[in-house]
Amino acid sequence: MNHIKLFTLLVCVAVFAPTACGGGPTPNPPPGKGRVRVAAAADLNAALGALVAQFRASHQVDVSVSYGSSGMFYTQLLNGAPFDVFLSADVEYPRQLAARGLTIPDQEFTYAVGRLVLWTRASSPANFVRDGLRSAADSAVTHVAVANPEHAPYGRAAMAALQAAGVADRVRPKLVYGESVAQAMQFVQSGAAEVGIVALSLAVAPGLENQGRWTEIPPTLYPRMEQGGTILRWAVDVESAKGFRAYLLGTEARALLKQYGFSTPGT
C-alpha cells in the first residue's frame, strides 16, 4: 500500500512538476520571440558573458550562446544550424555565408579586433616575457604552442608574427598545434609547452589572469585580426537579433570588449 502511494507520488512529481509546481514565471520564453541564439568564436568566451549580461539587463531579450571554432560553426551553418547570430573569429566566414545567400543581406559587421600575446606560466623565467617573440627561439624553450594556422586565425597571426620577428625558422621545430587558440593556451597552462602565442582575450580572462605573465605582440607584426559577424537568414526574431548587433557596435559594448582584451573596429 505504502509502496503504491510512494510510486504514485513519484509519478506525479516526474510528470507534473514542470507545470503544476512551477508557480513563478515561466523560465523559458515561448520559442522565437525575445530570444537570440548566438554561435560565437571560442576567444569570445569571457567577454561575451559580460556583454550578454549587460544586453539582457537593458533589452529584456534572452541570449543563449554556444562557443566553438568558427570553422566548425561555418560548416554547421552551411547545413542550417539553428542559430540567429554568428560571431566569427574572422571576417571571411560571414562573407562566405553571405555569398551563399544564407544571411540577411547587408547585416555583416565587424565587432572586434583580436590581439596577440606571448604567454608563459607565472613560474617560468622572467626573460621569456621580457624578450617577447625572441624567447620562443630561446634554448630553454622546447615547445611553443600556437593555434593550428591551417584553420585558426590566431594561428595564422602567430605564424606571421614569428616570420616578421625573424625567428620562424628557429621556432618551427618547436611548434605544437592546438586545435584552437584556447587549446594552445591549455598546452602552456599545463606546462607541456613553455610559451604560447595566444589571444589577449584569454590571457586576461577571469581565472587565468593570475596564472601567467604575458607581453603583447606588436600589432605591426601580423595582419589585423578583424572579427566579423552576421545575422542568419533563418533567424527567428530578426528584430532582437538586429538589436543585439546594434548593441555590440555601441559604446558600452566597445568598452567591455576593450576590457576583455580586444581592440575595437576603427581604432
Binding site: A145, N148, Y177
Partner: protein, 223 residues
C-alpha cells in the same frame, strides 16, 4: 590523402594493442581469479575510460605526463625529453583509453572457462602458470582475438585523447582522425572524405576478416 597520418595511426594502434596484450592478460587474469574483496574497485577503474569523455581523459593524461607532475619530471630526467607531444606520450594515453576494450573481453572469456578443467589440472600437480598457458589461454582464443581487434580499432579511430595530448605534429602525433578533423576545419571536405573513406574501408576490412576468422575457429572447436 594524408598517408603519413594513416601510417602513424596504424603504428600507434599496433603498438597500443601489443602493450594491451602484455598488460591486459595479467590484469584480466587477476580480476577473474583473485579472491580479494576489493577487486570490484580495480574493475571499476579499468572501465572508467568507457565513461569519461576522451577530452577529459586526455586533459588529465596531459597534466599527468607534463613537466609539472612527478611522473613527467622523472621521465624527462631519465630520457632527456618530456612525454607530451611525443609518440610515447600518445601511446600511454591510448593504452589507458583502450584498456577496457582489451581487459573486458579477456576477463569475460577467462571467466567462462570451465572451472572443473582447472581443478583437474591443479590436482594433476600442474602449476598455475602452466595451467593458464595450456588450459585457459587456448580456450580463450576468441576473447583474446576480440580484445585485440577492439583495442586496435578503438585506437585507430581515437580522437579526443590525441587532440588533447598530441599537439598535432605531422608524422609524430597527427593521427588520421586529427588529419580528417583538420581537413574539415579547413573546409577541405574533399580531402576529409577521401581520408575518411580509406579509414572506413580499412576498419571494415579488419573487422570483417576478424569475424570471418573467429567463425572458423569457433566451428573447428565445435567439431
Amino acid at each position: 590523402m594524408d598517408w603519413a597520418a594513416l601510417w602513424l595511426s596504424v603504428r600507434l594502434a599496433t603498438t597500443t594493442t601489443l602493450v594491451l596484450l602484455a598488460i591486459g592478460i595479467p590484469i584480466a587474469y587477476w580480476i577473474v581469479f583473485s579472491t580479494r574483496r576489493w577487486k570490484f574497485l580495480v574493475e571499476a577503474v579499468v572501465a572508467l575510460p568507457l565513461v569519461l569523455p576522451p577530452t577529459v581523459l586526455g586533459f588529465y593524461v596531459l597534466m599527468a605526463i607534463g613537466p609539472l607532475s612527478p611522473l613527467g619530471r622523472a621521465y624527462s630526467s631519465l630520457v632527456g625529453h618530456g612525454l607530451p607531444f611525443t609518440f610515447e606520450g600518445l601511446l600511454i594515453a591510448s593504452v589507458l583509453y583502450s584498456l577496457p576494450f582489451a581487459v573486458q573481453p579477456f576477463s569475460a572469456e577467462f571467466a567462462s572457462v570451465d572451472r572443473r578443467l582447472l581443478e583437474a589440472s591443479f590436482s594433476l600437480g600442474v602449476s598455475r602458470l602452466t595451467t593458464f598457458r595450456r588450459v585457459v589461454l587456448p580456450l580463450s582464443v576468441r576473447g583474446l582475438v576480440t580484445g585485440v581487434v577492439l583495442s586496435f580499432a578503438h585506437t585507430l579511430g581515437e580522437f579526443g585523447v590525441v587532440l588533447m595530448v598530441g599537439g598535432n605534429l605531422p608524422g609524430v602525433t597527427r593521427t588520421v582522425s586529427i588529419s580528417i578533423y583538420d581537413s574539415v576545419q579547413s573546409l577541405d571536405y574533399a580531402a576529409a572524405s577521401r581520408t575518411s573513406l580509406l579509414l572506413l574501408m580499412l576498419s571494415f576490412i579488419i573487422l570483417a576478416s576478424t569475424y570471418a576468422l573467429q567463425r572458423s575457429v569457433w566451428i573447428r572447436a565445435r567439431r
